[in-house]
Symmetry: C2
Subunit: 452 residues, 2 copies
């Protein structure tokens, strides 16, 4: 933890905005605690709660922030004399206070917090500490909890300048990772070798991954987390890999490239179709636009393309309305991105869906994580894909929706395309949008040229 | 999780040995669950409990092993149809059973377990699941719990052939990492760059780190976990970095090298002294030897050397008996190593200390994690060091033990040596010992030649 990295002015302003929204309700936000890996002293690298990072800017394990009216205080674990021996000189309360821009006190001085509201910490220990501090369980949110949660959602939905700077920092490292991954690719090595080249770009920047990387020749497995397959000539490699900046901001980018450096004709056809869908969706991003319509723009492009290729038959609009396209594109076109790669997913659809909107029950649309009207300062991913998922295409219940609109013979021509996804991170701006992850090879010819 | 990697015969034999020791007591061993990082679906890479890995060989999240007499059954989470969509085809119970060498059933069929004993899972969710299965809290161990714990300790203390193979696999990757780290070192870069080069060697082998790497120009901070300092000419870089093999076995190696590629005269003097202490300790390792005596052999070499350098005055044996040397070498000379880098540290000194032995209260010796008589098949680390820790040397209470035996003027000559540690992993053999992590540059000239 480098105190000099603290975004002091930004977190002060965020706390002031929170206090203004809360109108006197006290808020308790916990950083959480390190999680043990295989024994108590061997922990996973500590990642503070995103709500705490947003408001304090430094990952102080076990710390708690109390915001009360215009006053904020960060309570931190008291120093243990043994700490200096094992962990070196620790910052003083005064040094911490200067970095976080508000008073810092030992946790032993945490006041009684009746009536306060809290965002439940995702970490079990952090949450238990919050419950002890509040003197009540967090399983049933109180009105005060809901007020704090809604205020945090309102704040975090729209990124300030420091947040956008963090997203750009993550984007820069993410770009370096994808370039390194493409360069490292060659037949005969394992997926792990490409993944290693990619995350190396994070580690050398003293950053980490924003989420478990997907680097796979089986792109049709949507959440693939194994890396042992060998890359073969003719395979497509799908890499969904993003950095987390030193301040905790996420990058989230997917590229799909040919192991050999050359797409086959059928691969290129599908690749260009997915790219067209992504571009159509990005073109749609603008203030005031409903995100579901961004999703549907990608769906419509895909449906139209699949009809032109003879894989689907019928009217593209009907295909989309019925969800037939979801047999090949079962997930949503994207999600919020911020301090979490799926930003605020800990708060569920309360964050992702505008009040009054609910998830569709239609296969495909039901996986859309975001359905709000876009505002200037929101950041979202745009990530359509085409997959041949056996668990979908061999499931008569799921394919029934297609009726006679699916031509399996036409589809068989594309057997060498198991999965393609193309994803960028996009900021909503006054004039439309800005692709934060610009500059990572994306056109088919550029991707081919970057391999090996 | 690759089923083909399961050490089927080894885990069958281990379960049989466990059953033989338990004499009818049923044992419940849980794999644990993934820990959330910043929201529930974003988890840290899953690491199964070492006890589970030892007996089952595969990291099956949420699974539980029941050993009852000669019969073992692994209970696994029932398949969810959505799993196939997101995670691809999952192995069948029959495929899992073939890999783990015993029946595999859904967790819904877990029997009532009155009277069974358990090793408490370190992961909070895994432990809660165990408590539900047992119908009682694990906070106060029952006789059955203690029987299972003691049986696990007895088994895991002495490594079988498959375990030793795992340790060798980790050692090989650890060697590659240290060579890569030395090669990447040059003035002007940050510690993060060297760390990245080291862990890259793990990632490309589809392995991970056995513990949070220490890669620092501030070797005097014993548990340093930051990587932002710039490497300068004249600095020593201390790297305590070890791989975890795909099966979960740990490597744990420290090397200290000069950023410039050349040790100063004072650095070389201290380096050679620490190396002599390490060699003296390794030479002492043999069946029947008490580990504390291995520790004391290192202490004696250090004390003698510091007296010869004029830093300490007096009789080396008295210096060691009084713990004066611990002002420069405050930690123990090592610990057990196996599936955990501090093997079985979740069980505390019940694992590390022989029955009837207790930790010393003397500063220094109190940090010794292991005090058993060595047996063939045990693996330990040997890692003496020399540090100038401000929190020790400026603490009058701690330095009082030295009386007039500490010459601070003589010490001041070694100001450019903040911290040196040299560590290898050593297997106890019939004839003495074998260094599992052989071949990583260690003599001063070899280390110098490997840098840059």
């Amino acid at each position: 933890m480098q105190l000099s990295m603290a975004p002091t002015e930004a977190v002060k302003a965020r706390r002031a905005r929170l206090a203004a929204r809360l109108d006197g309700t006290r808020a308790l936000i916990a950083a959480g605690e390190p999680s043990p890996r295989n024994y108590p002293a061997a922990t996973y690298p500590f990642r503070a709660s995103s709500h705490f990072l947003y408001l304090v800017g430094l990952p102080i394990a076990r710390a708690m922030l109390v915001v009360e009216g215009g006053e904020s205080t960060v309570y931190v674990p008291p120093h243990d004399p043994a700490d200096a021996l094992w962990h070196g000189a620790l910052p003083s309360y005064a040094e911490l206070a200067a970095a976080v821009g508000c008073p810092v006190r030992p946790l032993t001085e945490l006041p009684a917090l009746e009536g306060a509201g809290a965002v439940p910490c995702v970490d079990a220990r952090g949450r238990a500490a919050q419950e002890r501090a509040l003197g009540r369980p967090l399983s049933t949110p109180t009105e005060a909890d809901e007020a704090v949660i809604d205020a945090m959602i309102a704040l975090r939905l729209v990124h300030d300048a420091a947040a956008i700077e963090g997203l750009r920092e993550a984007a820069e490292a993410t770009k370096a990772a994808h370039l390194a991954g493409m360069k490292a690719t060659r037949p005969g090595i394992r997926e792990a070798e490409v993944r290693a080249a990619m995350v190396h770009e994070f580690a050398r920047r003293d950053m980490t991954e924003a989420y478990g990387p997907i680097v796979t020749v089986h792109g049709e497995v949507l959440h693939n987390d194994v890396y042992h397959h060998e890359l073969a000539d003719g395979d497509l490699l799908l890499a969904d890999v993003g950095a987390e900046s030193t301040g905790g901001w996420a990058g989230d980018v997917t590229r799909t490239w040919p192991v050999s450096g050359a797409l086959s004709g059928t691969q290129r056809t599908i690749y260009d179709l997915v790219l067209a869908a992504q571009e159509a969706a990005i073109a749609k991003v603008a203030p005031g636009v409903r995100y579901r319509d961004v999703h549907l723009a990608a769906c419509r492009t895909l449906a139209l393309g699949l009809v032109e290729l003879g894989v689907l038959r019928g009217d593209p609009d009907e295909i989309v309305a019925d969800g037939v396209h979801a047999l090949f594109f079962p997930h949503g076109v994207g999600h919020l991105i911020g301090l979490d790669v799926h930003d605020m997913e800990d708060l569920g659809d309360r964050a992702g869906y505008a009040p009054g909107r609910r998830r569709s029950e239609q296969f495909g649309l039901s996986y859309l994580r975001l359905d709000r009207d876009l505002e200037v300062g929101m950041a979202v991913t745009i990530e359509p894909g085409f997959y041949q998922v056996p668990a979908i295409l061999e499931d008569a219940r799921l394919t029934a929706v297609a009726g006679d609109r699916l031509d399996r013979d036409a589809l068989a021509r594309f057997a060498d395309v198991r999965g393609v996804r193309i994803e960028d991170d996009v900021l909503v701006t006054e004039t439309g949008s800005e692709v934060l992850t610009e500059g990572i090879p994306k056109r088919a010819v550029d991707v081919e040229a970057a391999v090996g």
